[in-house]
């Protein structure tokens, strides 16, 4: 069955995709026949989550290498899709277009940063870590540098970064579940969590791999279909990516015409928390080169340090396949990322252009307040208007929207049938679930494999190790959900922090582990703990009113953290003895693809 299953993958997922499109069509027909919007939303989320759970159950396993690395037999292209789903979180799906919508060029650094990092992954790390044959990222650190302290330090950095990230994802699943299923957020968070655990608990990495492929298919259809549909409906062009230049220029014209009026602080107090107005130019360069480059750089180095991404390349059959697989991952990510600015453009123009039937700027307040979708999203606390200057008509500076609304509400604003909104909800759920699964698994695997098995009880049997791994999965999931339910920070903000934490502690210890033979244990430990501490200190300092330096903000504190990490690692390594002969030989072996992996197939 196993070999058979791998050979049949294109067929299996082909049928699955056809089935999903069939389901969309059935829902569209049902809507015409009078199915309510609420029922459609529930059907979409329930149906897709049920499919993922089924895949998770079918992938159950009792073997360590299947649980930790999916048996190392995931084909290149499918691993690319799984990585893309693993990678694109609620932040990419729901929040990124919103960020671009409100901040323009300054936030488009995220597009460059979240793709360019893969060049670093492919050239500096992934193939070498695959050759190493590790189960987890701390497994590499622990073996390359030797000693429990190095291993444990890596687990600490991994946990801080991934946990920051995962609360945001559980928050996103909760938001979508609460809107689609119409239940309070505090409960919806746990509905989201249980869906996440259904995918990963029985099958570990194997279950997560095959559900992530399924989730990628759902999320990419859910993102692209509305973009193309809206573009065609507005008459902007049948292939938006190549045809929106006029629309981009038109937004620039309208911005000139309306001007960016600065609101008084007292007026802004009445705007609900989390909503933003359009205050930045859409396509003009509105950030200094360093502001743009530092954010992009932080995201790129963070990409190459995040363990849940790196461990996806442990599942490929060979080193060669790991390299190619990075290319496929980025291709599948590119499909969505290149569409986000197009969605932001279409969404913005359809609201602010007075010549379009959907435009609301320039209309009277009574007119706007009578629009159905405005009432819906205003109730959901994602849209707000207020007549600051008292002239009765809506100005650009008097309109406020939540970042999430750009993706979630645009289909409704553009007048698409509700079935599309249901589809988008299912897509957002898939994006957040797939990333949360990867992250929870990364943390639970690191603690069960590296802390429990390698440090506490090296004699533990496979059954017991996997039991510990599963218990940890549930515990970490519930801890994440509990924190998510408190709603401390927005989705995009905490995701960016996670990248900064990861790069502060892990980037240089990982890269130098392969590329600098002289790097030793003392240096790596100093680099990991010192980098993480420096980054965390900078974040707290800036958050508590510190002025910061060199233009490094709370979104790019990883640049400071990783610089400290690099200096510490080099200085401490050079001050202490060089690694022993066996370690140097190990590094030599890692650098060539052929031959046995450093760690055994089952270890």
């Amino acid at each position: 069955m196993k070999g058979n299953f791998i050979d049949n993958l294109p067929k299996v997922y082909g049928i699955y995709t056809g089935g999903f499109i069939g389901f969309i069509i059935i829902m569209a027909i049902a809507e015409q026949m009078g199915m309510t919007a609420k029922a459609i939303g529930i059907a979409f989320v329930a149906f897709t989550v049920f499919i993922y759970a089924l895949i998770g159950w079918l992938s159950r396993t009792a073997q360590a290498d299947a649980y930790y690395v999916a048996g190392r037999q995931v084909p290149t292209v499918f691993n690319g899709m799984a990585t893309a789903a693993d990678w694109m979180s609620g932040a990419s799906f729901v929040a990124m277009a919103g960020g671009i919508y409100f901040k323009g060029y300054g936030y488009m650094a995220l597009l460059v940063g979240w793709t360019g990092g893969y060049v670093l992954v492919a050239s500096l790390l992934a193939p070498y870590l695959r050759k190493f044959g590790c189960y987890t990222v701390p497994d590499f650190i622990g073996t390359r540098y030797g000693g429990n302290l190095a291993r444990f330090s890596a687990v600490v950095v991994l946990t801080v970064a991934s946990f920051t990230y995962v609360t945001a994802q559980i928050n996103a699943t909760g938001t979508i579940a609460s809107v689609a299923l119409d239940i309070p957020f505090q409960y919806a968070v746990y509905v989201g969590l249980i869906s996440i655990l259904l995918c990963s608990m029985l099958g570990g990495m194997r279950g997560v791999t095959w559900t992530q492929v399924a989730q990628y298919i759902v999320l990419i259809i859910a993102y692209l279909l509305p973009v193309f549909w809206i573009s065609n409906k507005m008459g902007a062009g049948f292939f938006p990516h190549f045809m929106l230049a006029d629309e981009v220029a038109r937004i620039g014209e309208l911005e000139q015409q309306f001007g960016f009026v600065k609101n008084a602080a007292a007026d802004l107090k009445s705007v609900p928390k989390g909503l933003a107005g359009i205050t930045k130019a859409h396509s003009a360069v509105n950030a200094t080169p360093w502001a743009f480059i530092s954010l992009a750089l932080a995201m790129m180095m963070g990409t190459a340090s995040l363990p849940h991404v790196m461990m996806r390349y442990f599942t490929t059959p060979s080193v060669k396949a790991a390299r190619k697989s990075v290319g496929w991952s980025l291709f599948f990510i590119f499909l969505l990322y290149s569409s986000a600015p197009m969605l932001a453009t279409l969404s913005k123009l359809s609201l602010i252009d007075p010549n379009l039937p959907t435009g609301i700027i320039g209309k009277t307040f009574a007119e706007v307040e009578a629009i159905d979708w405005y009432q819906n999203w205003n109730q959901a606390n994602l849209m707000f208007i207020s007549d600051f200057n008292g002239n009765g008509t809506l100005e650009l500076n008097e309109f406020f929207m939540g970042g999430k609304a750009v993706v979630l509400a645009t289909p409704e604003i553009a007048g698409l049938p509700y079935v599309i909104s249901g589809l988008v909800a299912a897509g957002g759920m898939a994006a957040a679930m797939s990333t949360a699964d990867g992250l929870i698994l990364a943390i639970a695997n690191a603690i069960s494999h590296d802390v429990y098995y390698k440090i506490i009880d090296p004699k533990a049997e496979t059954a017991k190790r996997l039991l510990v791994a599963r218990v940890l999965l549930v515990v970490i999931g519930f801890a994440g959900a509990t924190i998510a339910a408190m709603e401390i920070q927005g989705i995009l903000g905490s995701v960016i922090w996670a990248f900064d934490f990861a790069m502060s502690g892990l980037f240089f210890p990982l890269v130098l582990g392969v590329w600098w033979k002289r790097a030793n244990r003392q240096g790596a430990i100093a680099g990991m703990l010192g980098g993480l501490a420096a980054g965390a200190w900078y974040l707290v300092w800036v958050r508590t009113g510190g002025s910061g330096f060199l233009g490094i903000t709370q979104l790019t504190f990883g640049i400071f953290g990783s610089a400290v990490s690099l200096v510490l690692m080099v200085v401490v390594s050079l001050m202490t003895a060089e690694p022993d002969k066996a370690t140097q030989k190990m590094v030599d072996d890692v650098r060539v693809p052929s031959g046995k992996s450093i760690l055994g197939r089952s270890h």
């Binding site: 060029y105 488009m108 650094a109 597009l111 460059v112 940063g113 793709t115 360019g116 893969y118 060049v119 670093l120 492919a122 050239s123 500096l124 193939p127 990516h241 190549f242 045809m243 929106l244 230049a245 006029d246 981009v248 220029a249 396509s283 003009a284 360069v285 950030a287 080169p289 743009f292 480059i293 992009a296 750089l297 790129m300 060979s318 080193v319 060669k320 390299r323 190619k324 990075v326 290319g327 980025l330 291709f331 590119f334 990322y337 290149s338 600015p341 197009m342 030599d588 650098r591 060539v592 693809p593 052929s594």
Partner: protein, 86 residues
Amino acid sequence: MSNQQKHWEKTRGLLFITLAIWFVFSIGIFLFGAEMNEVTGPFGYPWTYWFTCQGSLGAFVILIFWFANRQEKIDEEFGFSEREDE
């Protein structure tokens, strides 16, 4: 110099070329973001805007596949490519 050292030297050379191209598309062009955005680029978008939306992203995809192929060639040249049954 042993076979393995030569292999590593070439691998490192490829890394530097790859990182140089990466640097141009991820950092280099954004040093001149404001100036470049005044010029109309592909499909009628302003140049810098187009790079952030599509250009740099697409360049990264191509760069990784190019890098993977070159590295495979280097591995074959020195007899370090994996056997199929591994």
